[in-house]
Symmetry: C2
Subunit: 109 residues, 2 copies
DNA sequence: ACTAGTACATAGTAGCGCTAAGTAGTGGAA
DNA sequence: TTCCACTACTTAGCGCTACTATGTACTAGT
């Protein structure tokens, strides 16, 4: 990751993961793969797992352990009501910020 | 500031300030005021000054000291070539990130 | 036995915005 | 003339988050 991207992900990655979880539950390894496919090609595994621990402790997701055919058991995370609410606030904050920034983009030159 | 916004500003605030500096030089107090007017209503003064120290040390801006009629001398910052280059990279990173996130926004629901 | 892929965990580090407290200068109100 | 408000800049310490690095554990193929 570039250093810029690393800093920018602070505060947005949580929202991104919550958004990924909307509709369909997922487990850590799966989420990491998804993120990498969607362009965050060198997201660190540890980053994702640490984030998942965090959002679980904040009570934004429900967790269920399920056996895997190919390795250790998976921890499947699904968004709960509190998580959905947090996600909504994420969108509000994001929209606000991105509007200001886009405005600055227009101004220069 | 909400905690979400605080985290989101990490990595974007520097770009925002660099963008503000495009075209017209400005000093710290002025930049803080500008940011507050543009919606970042409770940006901490210390945050801005610390950021200015940082971008000066990274060599992204030129600094000139000018007397003020109303207080201590001002430190006027202007974007230099390296700063303009950094700003360009900021836009690239921002565009990439915001496209991914906007895409997620469309997907849900 | 070895390797690769799947799956999760965590201690330590760096970077950045915030808090809080300070210094310094000017002008107006009490 | 004392006090306050505004202007203007500085900096130590804190909390949060992504990254680095390393480890554990299970399965399947060679």
């Amino acid at each position: 990751m570039g250093k810029q991207m690393t800093e920018m992900l602070k505060g947005t990655l949580e929202g991104i993961v919550l958004a990924l979880l909307t509709g369909k539950p997922a487990y850590g390894y799966e989420i990491t793969t998804l993120l990498r496919e969607q362009g965050f090609s060198d997201i660190a595994e540890g980053t994702v797992y640490a984030l998942l621990v965090r959002i679980e402790q904040k009570g934004l997701v429900d967790v269920e352990k399920r056996p895997s055919e190919k390795g250790p058991p998976r921890k499947v995370y699904s968004l709960n009501d509190q998580g959905r609410q947090e996600l909504q606030e994420f969108w509000k904050t994001w929209t606000f910020l991105s509007e200001r920034i886009e405005q600055l983009n227009g101004k220069e030159k």
